[in-house]
């Protein structure tokens, strides 16, 4: 007990370490999970996945090099899990482990610097371990941040001790290795790893400047290098493959935009003013407010920090104490003052990112320093410099003051000093109450991180394990999976507990080829185009559809196809099995090519026969294949209505797109065919009858101005195939006449007042149908009422199509007229498109397009006379309202080529790991193509072996096929042989891991040797 009182600081530290226990207080069996948190529901699977540099479980595979850095982090979870503890216990242990590491690491540093002053040590620990920067780190349990924050103080302490020659080299090497292991998690975002060395380098620089003599410089540099080399070598297992990935995939120079994160840095830097960064309040999510309620969207406690005087005062007090430290400094440990000063200056400068007034410097650096774009989250990356320097300076201030008052003989001075420090510690814990109490996890809110996984997850897990191979695609197709039991994820939930390969709507890479195919799959599913669903499922290697009834979504739930499929049900989850006969294995052989003109069109893949592969005619590798002269081709034609619609949809809002009238009674297709040949037209089938096309008869088409009847050859639920027609190479124009009905009634006002009067509140609303000659139009006068309107229902039954709205208007006076397109059902308003009409006092056409939310609903067009404060009000005239469907069906031309009818070799294979597949090929009498339905990477290697396992020297042509997958053209081989498909960067991981293990063993041996020597 006496010892406990003597070392009371350890008791305090122990209590600090147990902070995560408070987070789970009164939370039942909940775990913290969701969005970026990604706590695995099977930690062993996650640990195992991190031993491979390719992750095949997400959207046909991605490079996973940097994620191998998470081995240690997930090992901490996997150990208690394998001992049989439940998920909540595993998470608590993992969180306590990392919290304790930060507390202990900061205490080790504080003890090294402020030895003898326990309160100064505790002050450092509290300021370093409890601050608003760590709110976000803990909220998402960010591996890289935690690893960095836990490593910095120990790393610095080690460097300091080594420079001061207070620690032996062998010991230092072992400690460096341990720090290297802790820091390894930083490799998930290598910029965090670099930040660690930036901090150590600043300290080295300060030391050199302050103690500028050759002996000191040599010793300092040697100390720095020995720590750097050991940590670097220990981390080589992820550094080598990640470096390989960065070099091959990320541009060395240029701005952040090259990474595809448009305005990423700017949006993160929006609130990183110097004032906010110095007060450690620069996280972007603090400043996201709901426009209507004015309340924070993500961070409810942010209000206290913005408006509560006590919180504002304290946020200024901490940096003030840090500045004050420079005023009351002494002449001891000058390198620490200088290092902390430089860290503060640099941390604030770089942490502010592109925010003015210092932002131009950050932009300059990102444009001119190679790979600087890795630092794309400046506030998150550089604020550790600020928290370290502020905690260090405050610690130094009180340590110094403590030393000064030692000589002063005033009895009350010491207790007062003690009380002030104690008060500061308590105030800091109160100031960071969201972190202490677990409010950072937003308990009680809809977006809370506390979730209780339902029991059917484990049932589904067992079924997935037993149900073999083949991908599973999730439905509904929202990019965010938001379950009604609390979990929100950006990837498939299946990845949390299963190694089954899953497909889902990608939030991170929506433009990737496989993502466009997945989008197409969902669209065909919603349109109930079952032949296209089957075709895409085969190409994407899909075996079942995972229907999540517990997911909150606007996607239609009544998919007709589901009722035809056999299902396995686990609580709210259903797995619909697609017909086995359509399934194509991941590795197959084919001997026919189809060229795509243009290649990047996912619908062309739907038209590619299953025995052919779809390739890019402009691919240099494909062009090396000599046997391609008779390949078929699929040529896309440009649809004039779709082009106009896309131009309206994708271009920035501008009037030139709107102040015109369009004729939707015909559609033009422009096609450029590559060769003279017979081409079979294939027109998208979806609701052609709505446009008056009778498919039981001939369809009249104008081809290059000449009327030609097209005979329907056959049709599926997705395409109508016509009899082949001959085209010469070059451009051709085709026109199809449509009967495109007006879907509203009474918009020309000849039928009288058939519209509904919209708008509420006091004031006067006058609706009058006036006429000039035979022409009638509507006049709406609004005096003092909120927006009033003439509302027209749309005879609309198809939310999968797009609509065209056109009207004439004339602005007489008052506020500008407007058109609202509202989509709703009995309970919910789904979407309103508001178009403001330019103030124009003559009759003027105005047109727009509307793309509905894909839900059964009602559509209404409102012609508005808006409110104005002017007592004369608003007067707008309207006429000739028309609503029509846009003909967006695509037309393709297919040239079959001369098909290779030779029998295909038999392919059998086995998946050894996510990076390695082995198999056999039998009866390969002719050259053929081996398809591998995993995302294309030039680093996938195919090696052939003869039956005696001897490597067959063969130059294989590797190219991309089916828009996303890999394919090899194989010729000049024996009839039967073996093959291996391997992801080459895995070798880099193996080499790195070997070096890392050897390094650790060497430093451990040196340490043990030293210890044995000293005990002798």
């Amino acid at each position: 007990m006496k010892k406990l009182f003597q070392h009371w600081e350890y008791v305090v530290l122990f209590i600090f370490c147990l902070t995560p226990v408070i987070w789970f207080w009164n939370k039942g069996g909940a775990i913290i999970n969701g969005v970026d948190t990604n706590f695995p529901l099977d930690p062993l699977i996650w640990l195992q996945r991190r031993f491979f540099v390719w992750n095949d479980t997400a959207n046909a595979g991605i490079d996973f090099s940097s994620s191998t850095a998470g081995i240690f982090f997930h090992l901490v979870q996997a150990i208690p899990y394998s001992l049989g503890l439940n998920l909540q216990q595993v998470q608590i242990i993992s969180l306590i482990f990392w919290f304790s590491l930060i507390i202990l690491s900061s205490y080790i540093f504080a003890r090294t610097i402020f030895s003898g002053n326990k309160l100064a040590c505790l002050l450092f620990v509290v300021f370093y371990s409890f601050n608003p920067y760590l709110f976000n780190t803990w909220e998402n349990v960010k591996v890289a941040n935690l690893a960095l924050v836990a490593s910095i103080p120990t790393g610095l302490a080690l460097l300091y001790l080594l420079m001061e020659r207070r620690i032996g080299k062998q010991e230092a090497l072992l400690y460096s290795a341990v720090i290297g292991i802790i820091l390894s998690g930083g490799g998930i975002n290598p910029a965090y790893f670099i930040t660690f060395f930036i901090i150590l380098f600043i300290f080295l620089l300060a030391r050199i400047i302050i103690k500028f003599n050759s002996d000191s410089i040599k010793n300092s540099v040697r100390s720095f290098l020995s720590i750097f080399i050991v940590i670097f070598l220990i981390n080589l297992f992820w550094i080598i493959p990640t470096a390989n990935f960065i070099i091959n995939n990320i541009s060395t120079s240029g701005s952040i935009e090259n990474l595809g994160f448009t305005n990423w840095v700017d949006s993160l830097s929006e609130n990183t003013s110097l004032l906010n960064v110095i007060r450690i309040q620069g996280a972007w999510d603090w400043y996201a407010f709901d426009g209507i309620t004015g309340l924070p969207i993500f961070i409810p406690y942010a209000l206290n920090y913005f408006y509560h005087p006590a919180f504002i005062f304290y946020s200024f007090l901490i940096p003030a104490l840090a500045i004050l430290a420079f005023v009351f400094r002494d002449n001891q440990k000058k390198e620490l003052w200088l290092a902390f000063g430089i860290m503060l200056v640099l941390g604030v400068l770089l942490g502010a990112g592109t925010h003015p007034p210092t932002g131009s410097l950050f932009r300059f650096l990102s444009d001119h320093i190679p790979f600087f774009s890795l630092f794309r989250s400046p506030w998150y990356l550089f604020t550790p410099l600020v928290i370290l320097s502020v905690a260090g300076l405050v610690g130094l201030l009180f340590y110094n003051l403590g030393e000064r008052i030692k000589g002063i003989n005033l009895p009350l001075l010491k207790p007062i000093g003690f009380l002030i420090m104690l008060l500061l510690i308590i105030c800091n814990l109160l100031y960071t109450y969201p972190l202490v109490t677990g409010k950072i996890f937003r308990p009680g809110r809809n977006d809370s991180f506390y979730v209780n996984p339902p029991p059917y997850i484990s049932e589904a897990k067992n079924w997935l394990l037993a149900s073999g191979n083949g991908r599973v695609i999730g439905y509904p197709d929202d990019e965010l999976e938001k379950f009604n039991w609390g979990y929100i994820g950006i990837e498939s939930i299946l990845n949390l507990f299963s190694n089954r390969e899953a497909l889902f709507s990608s939030l991170n890479a929506p433009k990737a080829s496989v993502s466009t195919l997945i989008k197409e799959f969902y669209l065909t599913l919603k349109k109930d185009e079952q032949s296209s669903v089957a075709s895409l499922a085969a190409r994407l290697n899909i075996k079942s559809i995972f229907y999540k009834k517990d997911q909150s979504s606007l996607a239609p739930g009544n998919i007709p196809y589901f009722s035809k499929l056999p299902a396995e049900t686990f609580g709210e989850w259903q797995f619909f099995k697609l017909p086995e006969e359509n399934f194509i294995p991941k590795i197959t052989a084919s001997n026919n090519f189809m060229f795509g003109y243009p290649y990047a069109n996912s619908k062309s893949l739907l038209l590619t026969p299953n025995d052919s592969i779809y390739v890019n005619p402009e691919d240099n590798m494909v062009n090396k294949i000599t046997a391609l002269s008779n390949s078929g081709s699929i040529v896309y034609s440009e649809n004039s209505q779709k082009k106009a619609f896309d131009s309206f949809r994708l271009d920035k809002s501008k009037l030139v797109n709107r102040l015109l009238t369009r004729d939707l009674s015909f559609v033009d297709f422009v096609v450029e065919v590559p060769n003279d040949s017979n081409y079979r037209p294939a027109l998208e089938r979806y609701r052609l009858e709505d446009f008056g096309l009778d498919l039981t008869k001939e369809v009249e088409v104008e081809v290059d101005g000449k009327k030609t009847p097209w005979q329907v050859n056959h049709m599926t639920d997705s395409f109508v195939y016509f009899a082949p027609i001959f085209f010469t190479a070059g451009e051709h124009k085709l026109t199809i006449r449509l009967q495109n009905k007006n879907l509203t009634f009474g918009g020309n006002f000849n039928e009288g007042y058939v519209f509904k009067k919209g708008g509420e509140g006091m004031g006067v609303g006058k609706y009058l149908i006036e006429e000039i000659g035979s022409e009638k139009y509507l006049s709406i006068v609004n005096i003092g009422k909120p927006d009033i309107s003439a509302d027209f229902p749309v005879a609309y039954s198809d939310p999968m199509s797009s609509y065209y709205i056109e009207l004439k208007y004339k602005q007489i006076y008052g506020n500008n007229g407007a058109v609202h397109i509202a989509q709703f059902n009995d309970n919910t308003l789904f979407k309103v498109q508001v178009e403001r009409l330019p103030n124009y006092p003559e009759w003027q056409y105005f047109s727009l397009y509307y793309e509905p939310v894909m839900l059964n609903s009602t559509l209404r067009v409102e012609l508005v006379a808006p409110f104005t404060a002017d007592p004369l009000g608003t007067k707008v005239l309207y006429d000739d309202l028309r609503v029509q469907k846009v003909f967006i069906n695509d037309l393709f031309f297919i040239s079959e080529g001369s098909k290779n009818t030779q029998p295909l070799p038999k392919v059998s294979f086995k998946k050894i790991s996510p990076v390695q597949y082995e198999g056999e090929i039998k009866d390969a009498s002719m050259p053929f193509i081996l398809n591998f339905s995993e995302n294309y990477s030039p680093q996938w290697e195919l090696t052939l072996y003869d039956e005696a396992n001897k490597k067959i020297a063969n130059k294989l042509i590797h190219f991309s096929a089916n828009l996303y997958a890999n394919a090899w053209y194989i010729e000049n081989t024996p009839q039967n042989y073996k093959f291996r498909i391997y992801y080459l960067p895995q070798n880099l991981f193996k080499i790195g891991l070997l070096i890392s293990l050897v390094t650790f063993l060497v430093v451990l041996t040196l340490f043990v040797k030293l210890k044995l020597k000293s005990t002798k």
């Binding site: 110097l274 110095i278 504002i312 200024f316 004050l324 005023v327 200056v345």
Partner: protein
């Protein structure tokens, strides 16, 4: 009271000595500052290089080092006063001014750290061992 007057007259003498030693520097400092403010009010160099208050504050901090001989401690005190003022403005919800004042505080910290570096660096002239010491 008498003690206070005594202390005041002593301090005034000290101040006079300091000012006497820096008279030219003080004169230039004031002239530059006045000129900058006058030029700003007249819109000189705009729009190519508008003289902002931020620029004037930064120039005055830098000049106070070279012309008035302020040491790093003084600069940090200046930064602290800016920071305190920023806090006051923030507490009164005058956010734009608080942001600006925080920029001045940061600029003073930067100058203070640079100055501290030179004051304590063995590379700097003042810290090199004197010739007689070397002997």
């Amino acid at each position: 009271m008498r003690d206070l007057i005594k202390i005041y007259s002593e301090r005034i003498k000290e101040l006079e000595t300091v000012v006497g030693g820096r008279l030219l520097g003080l004169f230039i400092f004031n002239v530059v500052l006045m000129s900058l403010i006058l030029m700003r009010s007249a819109g000189y160099f705009a729009p190519f290089f508008p003289i902002s208050i931020n620029f004037i504050v930064l120039v005055s901090i830098v000049l106070s080092v070279s012309l008035l001989g302020i040491r790093s401690r003084g600069i940090f005190l200046l930064s602290l006063s800016f920071w305190g003022f920023a806090a006051l403005l923030k507490l009164f919800n005058i956010n734009v001014w608080a942001e600006r004042t925080a920029i001045y505080a940061y600029e003073a910290i930067v100058v203070g750290v640079i100055l501290y570096l030179f004051e304590n660096s063995k590379l700097s002239k003042s810290n090199r061992p004197k010739i007689e010491d070397r002997k």
